[in-house]
């Protein structure tokens, strides 16, 4: 009887894993089949107005890139503060709040940026979209930096200080270097996370049919356009949405796999 129950539970649990994998396979196969059949080279040299994706892909990268330029330095510095300087209640509070923000609803961050950037500036813009993504990114970067620095052995810090180096030199030249691989991976994963975001961009950057690098105007976004195209009853639009989804997912998964590869082989 005990052995029978044991067997049943083990089978049920293996079955759950198979269900999880089946969903992954189902989604990936759908994406692959639908994506490949609508994907052709012309998509990458034409803009949305001509039925292509070029402006959307560039736009999404530009916004995620600017978000990284804002979010990575701030997040890393904050993470350094928490791990290297911070003591006591304030540090705990910031760490906790950052942890909470990491799971905060992204649509709410969109609403916040809408109120503080879009309304005052008179309309949606690539800049507003980048800010929204940067706000999403900061807590993720803080968390990574904080965790990776905590793995650096104490002796390294002491050795640096003992050589007479000032604290910030020790941090920049020794500690960050020691945690380099982990931090790089974390940054890569946080980039992958924000480049697939839709909700914070819906009413901050919106999207555009045209190629644009002007951050003060509505900005082309791959994800926002996928949402619009997929809800379009025209079949050609839906096919384009699938092609765009395939590109987006491939991008996110490849960045993720690179991150994992780096950790495994250099970490």
């Amino acid at each position: 009887m005990r052995l029978l129950i044991n067997k049943i539970v083990l089978i049920l649990s293996t079955l759950s894993a198979l269900i999880g994998l089946a969903f992954l396979a189902w989604i990936l196969i759908t994406l692959f089949v639908k994506g490949i059949s609508s994907l052709h080279f012309a998509l990458f040299i034409n803009d949305l107005i001509n039925g292509g994706l070029r402006n959307l892909i560039v736009g999404q990268f530009v916004m995620a890139g600017i978000a990284s330029l804002i979010g990575i330095p701030i997040g890393m510095l904050a993470g350094i503060y928490l791990q290297e300087y911070g003591r006591g209640k304030f540090t705990t509070l910031i760490r906790d709040l950052s942890d909470i923000m990491m799971s905060a609803p992204s649509i709410v961050i969109g609403a916040f940026v809408y109120a503080v950037v879009v309304i005052p500036s008179g309309g949606s813009s690539g800049f507003a979209g980048s800010i929204a993504l940067a706000i999403m990114m900061i807590p993720i970067v803080i968390n990574t930096t904080d965790n990776m620095l905590s793995l650096v052995p104490r002796e390294l810090r002491e050795a640096g200080i003992a050589l007479g180096a000032s604290k910030y030199r020790v941090i920049l030249d020794i500690i960050i270097k020691a945690a380099k691989v982990g931090i790089m991976t974390g940054l890569l994963l946080s980039f992958a996370r924000i480049i697939g975001e839709t909700a914070p961009l819906l009413f901050t950057s919106e999207t555009s049919n045209y190629f644009s690098l002007d951050l003060t105007e509505a900005f082309p976004s791959l994800t926002v356009s996928i949402y619009a195209l997929a809800n379009d009853p025209v079949q050609a639009s839906r096919d384009l949405a699938w092609a765009a989804s395939f590109v987006l997912t491939a991008l996110v998964l490849v960045i993720n796999l690179i991150g994992r590869y780096i950790t495994r082989h250099k970490g």
């Binding site: 293996t14 510095l77 928490l82 649509i107 949402y227």
Partner: protein, 306 residues
């Protein structure tokens, strides 16, 4: 230089606090119009964007116990527009509930499989696959759900393709890997010595899981579940494709409704005045609810677990 570096990093850390206070106060300020107009009644009111007659409550008569209809300067009946948040609130709670009911047993199964059953190399491969599933952007789940998953669900239960049920199920599939991964991490904190002792006493794998691992990592597992719940509450895109986005209380599990994030996603751009303020009010409520849920998960359960 040392001082500058330290202060800049302190400033960056403080920015988190400033951002959070900023988000809260900006949402509050922008919803002030709706809060003044509707107060807490907003939370229990099921009307959204409906014109109702303005009644003069000072002139109650036997025929008009509620008061006489007021007229504007042209002699036309005066109306005002009412916004209430109950429908999206109910939609958010119910879709999250369906997602949890669906995802919880499977996620527990996966976690047990990864932590205890699978040989190490299989566990790591399946683990990576599950984490990749977690990395897929939510909009992909929504699209796949709408075109491929919802029709199948509909063929079993009838009703509409876009409905509370399909939205909840796709939401469940989306939080599944996240829930499984963090639950597995909690289970992995159980010391091997405890497990080995139980095995040495002749316990089966199931008994070790039930009597050693679950009791030992209980708080961590509960924390992981609540954290996944917090994620589900605020999820927008996976739900936006499937819930139907209509301001009706769901009459059945297979009829469409709306959730707070979806109400925001689909109405924010065009709204102004009281409508916009009411949407900010919804955003504020969502922010407070998910803040509370995530705090409970992280600081009550997950901290106690470590």
């Amino acid at each position: 230089m040392e001082k500058i570096f330290k202060n800049v990093s302190l400033l960056s850390a403080t920015l988190v606090l400033i951002l959070l206070i900023g988000i809260f106060s900006v949402l509050f300020n922008n919803s002030k119009l709706a809060i003044d107009e509707f107060g807490f009644n907003f939370i229990v009111d099921t009307t959204w964007n409906q014109d109702v007659p303005v009644l003069n409550t000072l002139s109650k008569t036997a025929q008009n116990p509620a008061g006489v209809q007021m007229l504007d300067e042209y002699g036309d009946p005066l109306t005002k527009t009412i916004y209430g948040g109950l429908i999206p609130i109910v939609g958010t709670i119910l879709s999250t509930l369906i997602a949890m009911v669906f995802a919880l047993p499977i996620a527990m199964g996966i976690a047990v499989f990864l932590a205890e059953i699978a040989p190490k190399n299989i566990s790591s491969i399946v683990g990576i696959a599950i984490e990749l599933l977690a990395a897929i952007p939510s909009i992909i789940f929504g699209m796949w759900g709408l075109f491929y998953f919802a029709p199948i669900v509909q063929s079993f239960v009838g009703g509409y393709q876009v409905s509370l049920l399909t939205a909840g199920l796709v939401l469940g599939i989306m939080i599944l890997p996240f829930m499984a991964a963090i639950t597995r991490d909690s289970m992995n904190t159980t010391p091997d010595v405890l497990k080995e002792s139980a095995y040495a006493l002749g316990a089966t794998k199931f008994e070790v899981i039930k009597d050693i691992i679950f009791p030992y990592s209980k708080t961590g597992i509960i924390g992981s579940i609540i954290l996944a719940l917090g994620r589900a509450l605020g999820e927008t895109m996976a739900v936006a494709f499937l819930i139907g986005s209509v301001f009706d209380l769901p009459r059945a599990i297979n009829s469409p409704t709306v959730s707070i994030p979806v109400a925001l996603a689909n109405n924010f751009g065009e709204a102004s005045g009281l409508a916009e303020s009411s949407l900010f009010y919804l955003a504020l409520l969502l922010f407070i609810i998910s803040f509370a849920v995530i705090s409970i998960a992280k600081f009550y359960f997950l901290r106690k677990a470590n």
